[in-house]
C-alpha cells in the first residue's frame, strides 16, 4: 500500500537559519508531489509541485525552494528563514489525481 512520510513533525528555527523539510512516498512510482503551506486558521496554499525528478514548478514566489532528487523524494528548503515562513507545511502526492491527493502528517514550523 502507498504511504507518505513527512518529517520532522515539529520544528522551531531562528530567523536567518536554513530549512530542510523532507517528504518520501512509498508504494508507488512516478507520483506527482506537492508542498502546501497552511497559516494558522487558514486554508491551503500551494507552494510547489513536481511531476518528475528534477521538475519543479513554483506557484508562489517566496523565500522557499523545492527539489526532487529522487522519484519519491521531495524536499522543501530555505537558505534563510523569515518570520513569515512560520506555518504548517503539508506534503502530498497523487498518481491519478482523480482519486484526490494523499497528505503527509505535516510539519509545524515556528520561526522565532
Amino acid at each position: 500500500s502507498q504511504t507518505i512520510h513527512q518529517w520532522p513533525a515539529t520544528l522551531v528555527q531562528p530567523v536567518g537559519s536554513p530549512l530542510s523539510l523532507e517528504c518520501t512516498v512509498e508504494g508507488t512510482s512516478n507520483p506527482n508531489l506537492y508542498w502546501y503551506r497552511q497559516a494558522a486558521g487558514r486554508g491551503l496554499q500551494l507552494l510547489f509541485y513536481s511531476v518528475g525528478i528534477g521538475q519543479i514548478s513554483s506557484e508562489v514566489p517566496q523565500n522557499l525552494s523545492a527539489s526532487r532528487p529522487q522519484d519519491r523524494q521531495f524536499i522543501l528548503s530555505s537558505k534563510k528563514l523569515l518570520l513569515s515562513d512560520s506555518g504548517f507545511y503539508l506534503c502530498a502526492w497523487s498518481v491519478q489525481g482523480i482519486y484526490g491527493y494523499t497528505f503527509g502528517s505535516g510539519t509545524r514550523l515556528t520561526v522565532v
Binding site: 500551494l46 484526490g100 494523499t102
Partner: protein
C-alpha cells in the same frame, strides 16, 4: 480559473445530530471531480468523500454523504449521527479532469470549522 467557496467559516452541531456543510464552485469545465477533506486537530488531511461530476448518484461513505447539484454548482456534505471525533476543519476541493492533474487543477475552498458539542 476555478474557484471554490465555503460560505460557513464555523458551524456547530450537537452530538448525534445531523449537519450539512455547504460548498459551491465556479467552473466552465464539464468533467471534474469534487472532494471533501477533513483536518482534525492533529492537522492531518484526510479524504472523506469523492464525487465524479459525470455521475448523477450522490456519493456516500458511512455517515457522510453529499448532495451534488451540478447545474447549481453545489456540493454539500451531510454528516449524520455526528460524533465528537468529527470535530475538524472541513475543506471542499475541486479537480479538473485531465491527463495529469496537478498544480492549479486542484483547488481548495477556505474551509469550515465544525465543532461537535457533547
Amino acid at each position: 480559473a476555478q474557484t471554490v467557496t465555503q460560505s460557513q467559516p464555523e458551524m456547530s452541531v450537537q452530538e448525534a445530530e445531523t449537519v450539512t456543510l455547504s460548498c459551491t464552485y465556479d467552473t466552465s469545465e464539464n468533467n471534474y471531480y469534487l472532494f471533501w477533506y477533513k483536518q482534525p486537530p492533529s492537522r492531518q488531511m484526510i479524504l472523506v468523500i469523492r464525487q465524479e461530476a459525470y455521475k448523477q448518484q450522490n456519493a456516500t461513505e458511512n455517515r457522510f454523504s453529499v448532495n451534488f447539484q451540478k447545474a447549481a454548482k453545489s456540493f454539500s456534505l451531510k454528516i449524520s449521527d455526528s460524533q465528537l471525533g468529527d470535530t475538524a476543519m472541513y475543506f471542499c476541493a475541486f479537480m479538473k479532469h485531465g491527463v495529469r492533474n496537478y498544480g492549479q487543477n486542484f483547488v481548495f475552498g477556505p474551509g469550515t470549522r465544525l465543532s461537535v458539542l457533547p
